[in-house]
């Protein structure tokens, strides 16, 4: 059985990791071997302490090395557990999920999200700013100092349009 030993860097939660410094070697399962948590024996010359992962293509899985025990006979017993994010990265990438948090600042669904974020640290109502208003308001109507609305009664009757007669004239008329 062939195993590829190598090192994988990056956050364990990443699905974009790659294995480097790959060494291909023959290996033997050690005793009863779990495919999800296998223990394999490789020649000590094929193992490097910097190896973090190994891949067994026949099992279609990549494992994170959990321990390496040097044994007699130039052997190393390597224990591992399946790294599902590494092994199934392509499946995960191609899957469609409902995203509830994301740091993709180029995604409008993220940046323009209107969903309240209880984790976000905020300072309550610390800022007050004036929004620009176009238009002149009413000041221009007040330049004259205002005035008074006066409502009156009355009208033009013409009743007293002529000057009253003098006493003498009035007597003469009478």
């Amino acid at each position: 059985m062939v195993v590829k030993l190598g090192s994988v860097s990056g956050d364990k939660r990443s699905i974009s990791r790659t294995m480097t410094n790959i060494t291909t070697a023959d290996c033997q399962p050690f005793q009863n071997c779990d495919v999800l948590q296998p223990r394999i024996i490789v020649n000590v010359n094929m193992y490097s302490p910097t190896d973090t992962h190994f891949t067994i293509d026949d099992w279609h899985r990549t494992y994170e090395i959990t321990s390496a025990e040097f044994m007699t006979g130039q052997r190393v017993l390597i224990s591992g557990k399946v790294d599902v994010l590494f092994t199934y990265a392509d499946v995960i990438k191609n899957s469609t999920q409902w995203i509830i948090r994301c740091s993709d600042i180029n995604n409008n669904n993220v940046i323009h999200s209107l969903i309240p974020d209880t984790l976000r640290p905020i300072k309550e109502h610390s800022a007050a700013e004036l929004v620009q208003i176009t238009g002149d308001g009413l000041e221009y109507l007040a330049k004259s100092g205002g005035g008074y609305f006066v409502t009156t009664l009355g009208g033009t009757s013409g009743k007293f349009a002529t000057k009253p007669q003098t006493g003498t004239e009035q007597e003469a008329t009478n």
Binding site: W98, L130, K143, V150, G158
Partner: protein, 714 residues
Amino acid sequence: MIVNDSIYPVVESNYTENNNYITTHAITRANGFPFGETIDDSITYSASASNYAPYSQVLIYAFGVRSNQAEMQVLNGGVINNPVQKMFFRRGDIWSNTITYFTNLYREKYATELYQNGKFIVENNNNMLARGYNFFSNIYKIYCDYFYYNANFGNEPWRAFKTEQITEDFDFSNKHIAAIYLRPINTKFRLATLCGIPWGNFYDIDGNIVTDTGRLPENYTFKQDEIFYNYNMPYLENNSGDIVIFGGETKSTGFYYKEYSWAGKQMLCFAPQFAKFETLNGVPNIPVFNGGLELIKHIAATIGVIFTTATGAIPQTVDEIMNNDLIFIPKIEDNGLYQGEYYTGQEKKEAKQYKEKWWEDPDAPWKKGVQDFNDIDFRQYGDDNFSGCYGATGALTNRYFLNRSKMKQLSNYLNNTDTDLLESILKNIGMAGANPINSVVSIMYSPLDFGYPVVSDVIVGSNLVDTYENPTQHTALSGSAVINDNIRLDLGAADIKPTYKNYLDYAPYTKYIAYIPFCNFVELEAGVITNKTVSFYMNFDTVCGSCECEIRVNGKLYKTVSGVFATECCVQGNDNSAYVNSILSGATKTVGGIGGIITAIATENPLIALGGIAAAGGGAYELSTTTREFQANGKSIGLLSQMLPLHVCLYRYSVQDLGGDNFIQSVGAACGFSARIGNLKGLVICQNPVIDNITATPTEIEKIKTELASGIYV
């Protein structure tokens, strides 16, 4: 009475258009009769198209215009040989009052301020807007661009109407339009009359009296940016269908109409000689109208021109005119205005201009212009159109707006101690309760002056106290007539842009509070206004002093908030019953004012006579005085709110995001959307992840789900 053609040119010119042969006669007339005086201007007249629009400069002053048009009537500069003057009207049932209003406005506003510096721009809108005139509702500005006048009457105050009021696209294509073009003769005297505009003596910058509606000097060169800073197209009403356009060239009296059909409709064309050259908004031949012959006659009479329903030229002598039953002359009202009525047949001989032989009379009214507009009460116009909120106080009261100075003058008048006036009161005591101050119903102080048209006589009470020398006057105090009970102004608008572009831009993290003049603060929900335009309009009730701000979001009404902009002031009144009774009992002596401090009317009590009621210790009667206190309507006390800003202040209160990009990169931003994992970057946390189409053990699948739910990096 034959018109001297050497002085009054009669011009016949012909042109052919679409095989319609049109003959136009132009003679010099006013009020339906030929001029009868010497024209002192040299007449340069040529029946050449180059003398007319669009080949000569066109000057506009227009009713019913729109301001949001970028295009301007082209003024190409050069010498103004034949400036063309037009008036555009929207037609209403009482549209003739439009002219009445305009004429008064014209006289009151411009007569004393003509020929100052610069151009003349007159704007008028809401003076008419709130008067219930449908046809006024969209009138926006009046441009009189060729006056020398740089005053700012109406220029700024009405700017606020631009965005809201002018909304319709101008389209002549399906309108019915009548145009009456008055062709020019080169005189400066008669245009106003010809257009139905009473005119008066105006003074030019050199102090010369002119009686024109205004004219540029012959060598004046227009610069486009100093003339029509905002050219407006005529505003047309979609639902009325009847549009009247008056065009009057400043030198004209030529009048002609021809009846023909077009597009299956009866068309009456008041055809200017070169009307075919008139193209507005790309639609030529605007002087077309299908409103019917009677309406056309009404129109013609309203603008005060002679007209005929016959074909051919209008006769040129008074006798010929009077004896031709197919010729009509306008009826001129006592106030000098035209109301659209006309005489025909032998009725014409009842016309005052004929009976009084105005053409021979150097003092004929049309030569002087209308003497007095004091009897024009704007609020009486269009009463049939008053409804609802309009005209609430227009029935029995007069309403004025007086500045502080005028108010003081009125106060002085009401407290006048002029013996003659008091004698007048006593001699005419039959009018009980004639104390003028009792006719003051209310006084409200307003910090805002809406720029009402000026009237020369503020009416207070009957004309009991008219002066003998000027019996038509009341107070002889000029003031502004409040012709609208409601005024709507644009207070401005704001585009609400988000700050964070996420939930932080909305409640409860962000809120907007607007201060509205006179109305205090109002909160605007961020979720409603963000990424939208918020507009503020103020509706003023000049009757009650209240105002209501309407807040619109993207043009749709969102909220209203009310307040008080004018404050009720003290009005002191007297109980006139005692006053009258005392007079009737034999009063002969008056001391004191005719206003609220009248005292010592009926007795011989010297204390009263000298010192008033207080000194008399009771006297013959008690002067009952009632004083209204300052009132606060609504929720805002007027005088207090008047001290606050007069513009809208919109504040945004928002939280401060302390996380920033680092927070997003390390923790992620809350979101909710479906996506292919491979299309994302950085931290991704999924809810209820689904993994299928995978060859993995259930344990592995559960592990993958757990990882997705707790967060992975892509």
